[in-house]
Amino acid sequence: MFAGLISGSENAVRFTLDPRTKLALVATVCTIMISGRVGGIMTVIHPMLALVPFALLLLFGRVKAAVSYLLAYAAAYSMISFIMPVTSGMISILIGATAGIIYRMMPSLITGYFVVSTTKVSEFNAAMERMHISSKITIPMAVMFRFFPTIKEESAAIKDAMYMRGINSLRSPMEMLEYRMVPLLMSVVKIGEELSISALTRGLSGDTKRTNICKIGFHLPDLLCFLLCIVCWICFVLHVGGMI
């Protein structure tokens, strides 16, 4: 159940990365892809970084996610390059908004998804501890990632229940809001209380330093990822500085 921060599978993965490497990747992809700078060296860097989450997902055995990401990205890319120049008005705005969001945000989002779906909670905690990040940030973060799938499940169940009562249209938004959100909050708060008690019985609130059996450390794949990040950053900085 706690396999990944978000529902990762437990099966032994031959290929592993240190959580800190993953964070470096997220920071790199998020900053550089979203800055949206074009021209010069960035025409090479952009597609390369966009392929990073694809390659990683593939290496970690998430073939389906990897392929659907690649298709969506390719579709958005071709929409922007081929279809948008020949359209105008409202259609162009709609295409721009949809494809633009996929084109600019998808790589970062998928990298984020990759990180949360392949990192175990205790790995995450171990890495954060090594980086001396306060538990005031890491505990809420870990709880959050544990909770996203729960919220999704509960919300889907409530949606079905309300559908049976005929509360399913946006015609009465206030009613929708109340009937969907109140039950969701009720159940999530209850689940949260239980989770909190279960964590406390496992000694989360103890004063001593908690130990961790996760083996984290840097290996060859980590080194390669860091090299990639560094190269991208150098190119990015030089590009911003107007040199290439």
Partner: protein
């Protein structure tokens, strides 16, 4: 009220995690409407109204200093990951802290202070719009590559300079309305169910 320790403990941190998760999911659901350029701006107003419900419930659980700030910091980090730029992290810390001070001044029980704290907290979202004004030309130039000229032109006409103040006010007023809505829902449902 638990006075024996004013430091944050594991239990409080878990509470922060749970409510930040709900808050952020609701928030993101609102933000999805931002596809349409007008909604991108209207978000400052209707976003705080809708997220008022989970947040007012959250505020009833807060008895210690710093919890709102942590929520704000996490939201700021997540917004960065979602590609809204790094300004949000600063506004999140500023307005999160401000909200915490307001709550503390009201001893975490004052109704007036919780309303005000939520309205002030809601302003953190303005950080997403700062690049639109501070680095206007380069921001729009960068945007063209992904969103196309027409989308950018529409956005530009909707965001003259004075719009920033309107957005700021919209966050605050939306926050006040959201707080009122949240309180009404609390009274109608949660108090009766014994959750608060």
């Amino acid at each position: 009220m638990n006075q024996q320790s004013s430091k944050l403990q594991a239990k409080d941190l878990i509470t922060v995690g749970i409510f930040t998760a709900i808050y952020f999911v609701v928030f993101l659901a609102c933000a999805m409407l931002g596809f349409i350029p007008v909604f991108l701006l209207a978000m400052t107003f209707y976003g705080p109204i809708i997220t008022g419900i989970p947040f007012m419930l959250y505020l009833t659980k807060i008895k210690k200093f710093g919890m709102v700030t942590i929520t704000a910091v996490i939201c700021g980090i997540l917004m960065f990951v979602f590609g809204m730029g790094y300004f949000t992290m600063f506004t999140a810390v500023i307005f999160g802290l401000a909200a915490d001070f307001i709550l503390k001044a009201g001893n975490y029980t004052s109704k007036k202070n919780t309303t005000l704290a939520y309205a002030v907290y809601s302003i953190w979202f303005i950080g997403n719009y700062i690049p639109l004004y501070l680095t206007r030309e380069s921001y729009f130039a960068d945007l063209v590559s992904g969103y196309g000229q027409e989308y950018v032109d529409t956005l530009r006409t909707y965001t003259p300079g004075w719009m920033f103040l309107v957005l700021l006010a919209a966050c605050f007023i939306g926050g006040l309305i959201g707080a009122a809505l949240g309180k009404a829902v609390l009274k109608k449902h949660f108090v009766r169910a014994g959750i608060v």
